[in-house]
């Protein structure tokens, strides 16, 4: 094969490999993603059996611990719509009432049943100051 054609062939192979990889990237990410949702979104339009990533603030005085199972309510950042959450697994150290959290799971009946270990608590920026103001 003459070098010119060989180079073109190599370029073609490399480009098609790149396109294939990009396609796989896009396809897998969309099919594996979980949609972010707020409590009011979830109450308005949750499809059963679909998993969501619920974000919001932990309602004050709603946290209850029953053995390994933690239950609490998450409300909208601005607003009062709230969803009860049942969670098992590791509770992050900064988890507190009033803090912003993210948890993945699905709505079963009226309760949001979370996946194990999926709870994330956001670090409040200047955490002690935040507490003073509440």
């Amino acid at each position: 094969m003459d070098p010119q054609r060989k180079r073109k062939l190599r370029l073609f192979v490399a480009l098609s490999a790149a396109v294939l990889l990009a396609g796989a990237l896009i396809y897998t990410s969309f099919s594996a993603s979980t949609q972010a949702s707020t409590p009011s979104d979830l109450l308005a339009s949750a499809e059963p059996g679909r998993s969501y990533e619920l974000t919001g603030k932990v309602v004050n005085d709603s946290v209850d611990k029953d053995g390994e199972r933690l239950t609490f309510r998450i409300r909208d950042r601005e607003g009062s719509a709230s969803v009860p959450v049942a969670y098992e697994g590791v509770v992050p150290d900064p988890f507190r009432e009033g803090r912003e959290v993210i948890v993945s799971g699905e709505l079963k009946g009226r309760t949001f049943v979370a996946e194990r270990d999926s709870l994330i608590t956001k670090c409040p920026s200047k955490f002690t100051k935040d507490e003073q103001s509440t």
């Binding site: 990889l21 796989a24 990237l25 897998t28 990410s29 969309f30 594996a32 993603s33 979980t34 949609q35 972010a36 990533e53 974000t55 611990k65 053995g67 390994e68 098992e88 697994g89 590791v90 509770v91 992050p92 150290d93 900064p94 993210i102 993945s104 270990d117 994330i120 608590t121 956001k122 670090c123 409040p124 920026s125 200047k126 955490f127 002690t128 100051k129 507490e131 003073q132 509440t134």
Partner: protein, 719 residues
């Protein structure tokens, strides 16, 4: 003194502006004096920032709460080590750290290159001054670390308890040193592009800085992983969190860069690729800093909304647009001198390694920014989790380790098939032997990806050992030295090469730990009472008794209250005792009650790990203090107005009640095989990088000779 600090920053900003202006003027008008003055302005900047940092540090050490930063991030009872390091736990403080490191690095590189690269260096000085100026502008305009409080509090808020771990305190300066370090090759690349001197000179001048940056960034990432494993109560070392990803991305492109520049040095190829890589690395480093601080992506580390997000994005945008335009306008002078001769050559394997590294970076970038991408595409914010990252990263990591084995043993330009066969005969035999042994003796066949990784790790190690042995034997034949001396001389005289091999071996060992611990770890979450026994992995574990201490927690973080457990673990004849605990820091919220606030504040897991070469036993406890609540409430009702010492006695009594009347506690226990090899591998990489960076006596001699040769040449051309 705060005024002096602010003044240092303001004067620093003006100095940076002057440095940029003087260097550019000097380069344009060929005024040597202006160039020298611009360079000296950078030294001044470093001095100013060292002064500013010293003022801030002394405020932290004196616990001067009239500084807002000190009041927010430190307290009188914060241990001294954490007082010193509290500076970079805040946004303003980390900006100052960035600028400080930036000015020191810039001064070092400009001092070292003061007699060479006379055309490129002024432009590089200007770029460095602009980057430092940007950080100074952020501090002067928006986030002044020297902000003072009109009514200073009596006591500070204290350092966030989660950050009270030695690894966490060394981790940010390491990462920042890495980020900042990559601005050096970036600045010189821009200088080379502007002056169209796109040969390998700028690479030779900054190569060592790129390696130093790469080493620090890698060490920072490792320390972050270690902190996650040993401090956070979940037991993993990597979670594909946006902030972790943000530090990994520039490291990946940086790794690609330090490989591909060798191709440019040896063969004059890949010039466009190299400048693009260094630009990408620098942009990703800026992006990393921005991600940690902006809170645009959901992350454990996102420190809430920041005030400087827009400024950061604008600056990143300017850097991307400016440098891309520059590269495009210089495409004609970036043509390669040579072409790829054969796919079976070292440059071809370097190119392949680059593509895989950049591919991995693209995957991580896509996944990290997927919430933003998906919102832009279909209006729904969605995210991908760790399983997605693992699925895509695993095959790429396998290819990468395979390339790390093949690359070093293939010659430049073209390898013959016979030669390749001879080189790889022995390593391939080692690989086959490893495979057979693992299949026969272990259950690793259940996890094909892990099994494949083990075999490839064996291949890398075999190639590295073979290269070392061959080199040593050859050297002995030539010099007649005894073996150990021949080996030492071999490495000392080819530091870059053998340091690089050692890095490959370290990476292989690291991946051995990653593959084994992620495929074969066993985790158990239980809730048990004292006296109960449970199984976890291969261990039988007994919750012997609860512990409770007042003051003086085991890790020395300054927590007043610590509840814990004593566990005994048995496995065959082995018998260990573990002391996991949980520290409670008082809340400053008065509504929790005078006594209750000691139990309602921040709490952090103090994990206990039995480290081992074969396996780690990791344990965390979450004491259930709900049982103490009635007592706490009663105490609050009765003693809220009492004197401090009475309250202290009451708290001591409640704490003691936990020990004597222990409720059930939740435990997480992980039996993780070979996980220690991750840290050992990381240490080997660090050692290899140090060997590669250390200048050898010969290169120093060569440099001096070349300077003389250049001077002689100049004299001759004038004559």
């Amino acid at each position: 003194m705060a005024g002096v600090g602010s003044a240092c920053l303001l004067v620093g900003l003006l100095t940076a502006a002057y440095a940029a202006g003087a260097s550019l003027y000097g380069a344009r008008s060929s005024s040597r004096a202006a160039v020298v003055s611009g360079r000296r302005a950078i030294y001044c900047l470093a001095a100013l920032l060292i002064g500013a940092t010293a003022i801030l540090q002394s405020a932290f050490l004196r616990s001067d709460f009239s500084y807002k930063l000190v009041a927010d991030g430190s307290s009188t009872d914060t241990p001294t080590f954490y007082k010193v390091t509290a500076m970079w736990a805040t946004q303003d403080g980390s900006l100052l750290l960035w600028a400080l490191l930036m000015s020191i690095f810039s001064s070092a590189v400009l001092f070292l290159t003061r007699r060479s690269l006379r055309d490129i260096a002024p432009y590089a000085t200007a770029v460095l001054a602009v980057v430092a100026g940007f950080f100074l502008m952020l501090m002067v305009g928006w986030e002044n670390p020297f902000t003072t409080l009109a009514n200073p509090p009596v006591e500070g808020a204290g350092l966030n308890p989660l950050l009270r771990h030695p690894a966490m305190m060394i981790h940010p300066p390491m990462l920042y040193t890495g980020y900042v370090g990559f601005s050096i090759p970036f600045a010189f690349a821009i200088g080379a592009l502007i002056t169209r001197h796109t040969g390998a000179d700028w690479i030779r001048a900054t190569r060592r800085f790129a390696l130093v940056a790469w080493m620090f960034l890698g060490t920072g990432i490792m320390l972050g992983a270690l902190w996650s494993y040993a401090e956070l109560g979940w037991g993993g070392y990597w979670a594909w969190d946006p902030v972790e990803n943000a530090s990994l991305m520039p490291w990946l492109t940086g790794t690609a860069f330090i490989h591909s520049i060798m191709v440019q040095e040896k063969r004059g190829m890949l010039k466009v690729w190299n400048v693009s890589l260094v630009i990408a690395t620098f942009v990703l480093a800026l992006l990393g800093t921005f991600l940690v601080r902006s809170g645009i992506l959901d992350s454990i580390h996102a420190f809430g909304a920041s005030t400087i997000g827009t400024q950061f994005l604008t600056f990143i945008g300017i850097v991307i647009v400016g440098s891309t335009a520059l590269v495009i306008s210089r495409l004609d002078s970036l043509r390669s001198k040579a072409r790829l001769d054969s796919l079976l050559s070292r440059e071809a394997f370097f190119l392949a390694n680059n593509l895989v590294l950049v591919g991995l970076c693209v995957v991580i970038f896509w996944g990290t920014f997927f919430p933003l991408i998906s919102e832009a595409l279909n209006g729904q914010e969605a995210s991908v989790g760790p399983p997605w990252f693992n699925r895509l990263a695993t095959p790429l990591a396998l290819v990468l380790v395979a390339l790390a084995a093949i690359g070093p043993a293939v010659p430049w330009r073209r390898a013959s098939r016979v030669g390749a066969l001879r080189v790889f005969k022995l390593p391939l035999a080692v690989l086959a032997l490893t495979l057979a042994t693992l299949l026969a003796l272990t259950n690793s066949a259940e996890r094909p990806a892990a099994l494949l990784m083990f075999c490839l790790v064996a291949l890398v190690l075999a190639v590295v050992v073979q290269e070392l042995v061959r080199g040593t034997l050859a050297r002995r034949t030539i010099t007649g030295d005894p073996l150990p001396r021949a080996l030492a001389q071999l490495v000392a005289r080819n530091r870059r090469r053998y340091g690089g091999y050692l890095v490959h071996a370290g990476i292989a060992v690291l991946f051995l730990g990653v593959a084994a611990s992620s495929a074969f770890q066993e985790q158990r979450d239980v809730r048990v009472s004292p006296g109960d026994t449970f199984e976890a992995g291969g261990y039988r574990i007994t919750y012997e008794r609860a512990t409770a201490s007042l003051g003086g927690d085991r890790a020395g973080t300054g927590a007043p209250i610590s509840f814990g457990a004593v566990l005994t673990a048995r496995r065959g004849d082995e018998r260990y005792t573990l002391h996991p605990s949980r520290n409670f820091y008082p809340s400053r919220d008065a509504s929790n009650g005078a006594i209750g606030r000691f139990f309602e504040g921040e709490a952090t897991s103090e994990v206990d790990v039995r480290w081992g070469l074969r396996r780690d036993l990791w344990a965390a406890v979450r004491p259930d203090i709900g049982a103490l609540e009635p007592a706490i409430r009663e105490a609050d009702a009765k003693f809220s107005k009492s004197a401090d010492d009475v309250q202290a006695i009451v708290i001591a009594a409640i704490v003691d009640r936990y020990r004597t009347n222990s409720p059930p506690a939740n435990f997480r226990v992980i039996d993780s095989p070979l996980v220690s090899w991750i840290w050992i591998g990381g240490a080997i990489v660090l050692l290899g990088a140090l060997i590669a960076i250390w200048p050898s006596p010969e290169t120093r001699l060569r440099r001096v000779t070349s300077i003389y040769a250049a001077r002689l040449g100049k004299e001759l051309s004038r004559a």
